[in-house]
Subunit: 305 residues, 2 copies
């Protein structure tokens, strides 16, 4: 990856991430805000631990860059980006719980229930989810009420039964009852796809884009969301394959069918290239302004971690 | 309780409850809605089990009666009432988890994690919470965007770190570190008070009431929220006291200080009477229209279960 565009992307990604982290770090302080009676310090610490954990902040980046396409590189984009990261983080905090994936470590740090306790992790996740809606609905976004309520609706749909939590539930059921190819695609479109699609669509809502452009951004989001999951499944295979003769990774060990296990590595790489091309085509009308979003598509498809 | 007003109240409470349950039962069906790809049947069943459990539906009643004060006995009030019940129910589903209160039975039925499993209960709770915001933000409320976004903000604040989940976190900490009287009042105002206050305030937002009336309703909500908790703590003592010489109940057994354990039964009954009088005073300007809300205050203070 010596493409100079790619490193510009890396710099932009880091800048966006830093802005979101600064905002969240201030918002999730122990100091009561906006008429709140009190904020429990331990709960706030668990929330901060869950969200300020050095993630790549890809979803916030997508919100902010999509908004920038429509000239809306503004406080609204930053706040919606932060809200989306709260949703993504809450899902990880709950996913890591013993009753779910039972993970002790995330990004080299103890997970929230390991650093605090399970009850704190449940409440911290619930609180991050709730706070995300407060952030999006807030007049501090400086968006008109119609845009705010549109964003709340889109976010709730992306995060709920027809989106993320629905996909998580399908994923749990898939452990017992293997889905077919169509079922896997649906599961992934919900579990990881819906939030990524929302991220891109949100930018167009914030930027007050025409409905055609909103659809275009949503389609771009769907393409890169699918690519995100394919790349993840591919990494699960190739990362382990580089080790001592073990050709399969976590998914295979868990008996989990993926599109990669069904179709093989070569097919997957072709699919990924096709999705990147599709994402680039969708962004064509925006010309130079969309360079970083095109880079994001390639980054998602080609990432090594 | 032979007061005829009281039985009118009971009938109204049941009618409101039935309306909310009918709506929720339809909304939480397995059929995908509003562009959703799919809804996982087991997740939906866990959500229905968590919310359609024969609760008294006091919070929905308060939303609908408060809205009716301002002539807004309409679909918006019903939907916001249903959303609030989703929030209340999600908090119970998560509260019942082994890592929290570890309860197997609620209202004579197995709790969600006992009937399904812990992962399903976590996801069902998350999904109910998320769905509540979808409901409130929806244009199907027929409210203008400003009212909807005001409701989303107020609900998120009542349910989040400065309200319900914050209160739950304080409650967990209180098990280790006994709060003083001020601390207990704050904890209770957040844990149970905030949602009840929201219920009453929501009616005034739906009814597009003047800011003074909104404040009046919020104050009424605070008074009955405090009465609700005092009555709960009182029941914990008196219900057990009627048994074989055991003068204290769950709270005392858990070493949990309450205002009742601090000040005694007589003081508590006086406080309750004072709060009912305060609630009635606050409703005075609304005259006859507020009869059922006055009954609600007495019901909350005097209930035996």
């Amino acid at each position: 990856m010596t493409d100079p565009g790619f490193s510009l992307f890396q710099i932009a990604l880091q800048q966006r991430a830093a802005a979101v982290e600064t905002l969240l770090s201030g918002l999730l302080s122990d100091r009561p805000q906006g008429g709140e009676i009190s904020r429990p310090p331990r709960l706030m610490a668990a929330m901060r631990h869950g969200v300020l954990n050095g993630g790549k902040r890809l979803r916030p980046f997508l919100v902010m860059e999509s908004a920038a396409l429509f000239g809306a590189d503004n406080p609204a984009a930053l706040r919606v980006a932060a809200a989306l990261e709260c949703i993504h983080s809450y899902s990880l905090v709950h996913d890591d719980l013993p009753a779910m994936d039972n993970d002790d470590i995330r990004r080299g740090q103890p997970t929230v229930h390991r650093k605090f306790d399970e009850a704190a992790a449940i409440l911290a996740g619930d609180s991050l989810l709730t706070y995300a809606f407060e952030l999006v609905a807030s007049e501090e976004t400086e968006l008109d009420p119609h845009a705010r309520v549109t964003l709340v609706t889109a976010l709730a749909r992306a995060a709920g039964v027809g989106g993320m939590t629905g996909g998580q539930a399908l994923d749990l059921e898939a452990e017992k009852d293997q889905p077919d190819e169509e079922g896997i695609i649906r599961l992934q479109a919900m579990k990881t796809g819906a939030l990524i699609r929302f991220a891109c669509e949100a930018g167009s809502i914030i930027g007050n884009a025409h409905v055609k452009d909103r659809e275009r951004l949503a389609e771009y989001g769907s393409a890169i969301g699918l690519a995100f999951q394919l790349a993840d499944d591919l990494l699960d295979v190739t990362a382990d394959a580089s080790h001592v003769g073990k050709a399969t990774g976590k998914d295979a060990a868990a008996g989990k069918a993926t599109l990669v296990s069904m179709h093989g590595i070569e097919w997957t790489r072709q699919q990924l290239a096709g999705l990147v091309a599709q994402a680039e085509d969708l962004l064509e009308p925006f010309g130079e302004k969309a360079v970083l979003l095109k880079d994001a598509a390639r980054f998602i498809a080609e990432r090594q971690s």
